[in-house]
Symmetry: C2
Subunit: 332 residues, 2 copies
């Protein structure tokens, strides 16, 4: 048996409307709080939209003790005055390169410290973390590595800005973490478990297709090393990203792995397998508290080594590990 | 307008039963002859099975002037006596590493010149070409490159054996062609057109998923260079590999691109775009005649620059370029 105080999912897609009502309770059951991604259509770019979205999430999760940590969709027009007001309502701002993933058409075209000077200076001064989907528009296997110079530019020019490299997938990203005090990263469950071989090495597996795409074995090893040792630069962010089954098993499958309902159980299994259970709470809670400098709402989750059969679907969404058996269950 | 005498598809999957009846006429309409892959379930390993499969193909294509060039599924038990008898009925023997692609469970586990000495010596003496699906069981993007030392071993130890590197996808394979007189290659339509970015860089595209998987831009460039110049070491082999739509758009999508019905039209478009139309006949017919040392049945195909809308499906099979428009049509 293990207990985890206030498990946190530092990168979560809850979508909206019906989908929100299906998936939000599944996260709220396992987690104490979660960083909520703002890439709705249209994206969350105003304080009113933040408040309204937060209320819809609270409505959908009213049965649970769960705090949605809200974010704004980065715009280079955000100024100090706006951000000062926004700060009360958000935990971070998420920057998307234009067109790089689901609902990122309104993202930023040129990402560099000069073009984004006004907004990043204000965020730095106001201590608002910058979360980044770090991919170039290059060849799919190279996109993350190609983006690293941009992280270096931002980290160097805004040394007090906390920069979160979201859902890192490569050993190069892991190595970069050590170079800058103000660089941090989230790591997903699936990137700790799969490589491109699982997505496209045997049959093609749409439910394991995500952005950034899973990489090589040596990349997964590098991610595992920092996650299992609960390196203080990294924290758990599921990037759980639901799509209805007809958008996944189709002639053009949308990117996103749905993992929220089984993430803690699968992490327990993974950390136990590697004799690292004692680090799990750091990876899924304490590290994030330090990086984001906050105290989450109290909620104790207990897992026991009881077999858990993952459902084939949650409503019309197929989770990772559908129909397979995990060795840990959440019991309270 | 262009005419091509006896277009040849030197790597084709016609399957069996109902599927055969759907796809065989579509190939027979465009091509004069085709090398027919033997990976049925069970695989084609006897002379009786070759004759019987050939007759089923002839039945399905009786409306057309089309010659199925039959192959056996490689087994290391084939001896000189058997192969001497088989030679009258086959054009080549296809070697699959075990478990590497569709219906290859009965493939060969250890591929090297010593283990396969008896069969390869006999094939060499009898001048039966060896067609190889050249992939290791390593990381999906490295499998073809990792297999190259096996080609080198076979090419060195059986210098008179014609070895066809099937459906090559990498610049390393293109480079290897120059090193050994007895190495040749087929190249598919889709590997001249797509990279991994098309399969998994935007939405995930099951109908572009195949084995070997499409690689990098520099690989496609290397393939284009030898194909468009009709380098005498390479020839067209579509590797057209139909699966019903429910096996493609599903939670585990089978590997294979269905291209046969539109291959010649798309090749004409590609070669025209690169100002290489004068080399098309070499790539789709003459090179193969030289490599395999045979004269195909006469059949003249005429293509005209008339727009051709690719159907969304042929029966329950989705072709590459479904619903899009090609600029060339077959007119006779």
């Amino acid at each position: 048996m293990i207990t985890i105080d206030s498990p946190l999912d530092m990168h979560l897609h809850l979508r909206d409307a019906n989908m929100l009502k299906i998936v939000a309770p599944l996260s709220a059951k396992s987690f104490s709080a979660a960083i909520i991604m703002p890439n709705l259509v249209p994206p969350i770019t105003t304080i009113e939209a933040v408040i309204s979205y937060k209320n819809r999430i609270l409505d959908a999760t009213s049965k649970y003790n769960f705090e949605p940590l809200m974010t704004l969709f980065f715009q280079d027009s955000y100024d100090f005055e706006f951000l000062q007001k926004a700060k009360k309502h958000i935990k971070a701002i998420k920057l998307y390169p234009q067109g790089i993933t689901t609902n990122s058409a309104n993202g930023i075209k040129s990402i560099d410290s000069k073009s984004l000077q006004m907004t990043l200076s204000a965020m730095s001064e106001l201590d608002i973390p910058l979360c980044v989907h770090g991919e170039s528009d290059g060849f799919v296997m190279d996109r993350e590595a190609e983006f690293l110079p941009i992280y270096e530019d931002l980290a160097t020019n805004f040394p007090k800005l906390k920069i979160i490299m979201e859902h890192i997938t490569t050993k190069q990203s892991v190595e970069l973490l050590n170079k800058y005090d103000n660089l941090f990263a989230t790591i997903t469950l699936h990137h700790l478990l799969i490589t491109l071989d699982d997505v496209a090495g045997g049959m093609l597996k749409p439910h394991l297709f995500c952005k950034p795409i899973a990489k090589r074995y040596e990349d997964r090893e590098a991610l595992l090393k920092v996650a299992l040792s609960a390196n203080e630069k990294v924290m758990f962010g599921s990037d759980s990203a639901p799509h209805p089954i007809d958008k996944k098993e189709s002639c053009g499958c949308a990117a996103g792995v749905f993992s929220a309902p089984i993430a803690l159980q699968a992490l327990a299994e993974l950390f136990e397998k590697h004799d690292a259970l004692e680090n799990l709470e750091k990876f899924v809670s304490l590290n994030a508290q330090k990086i984001y400098n906050f105290i989450p709402n109290k909620k104790r989750i207990t897992l026991k080594k009881i077999k858990f059969k993952v459902p084939s679907q949650y409503a019309d969404i197929v989770p990772i590990f559908a129909n397979s058996e995990l060795s840990w269950s959440i019991v309270a």
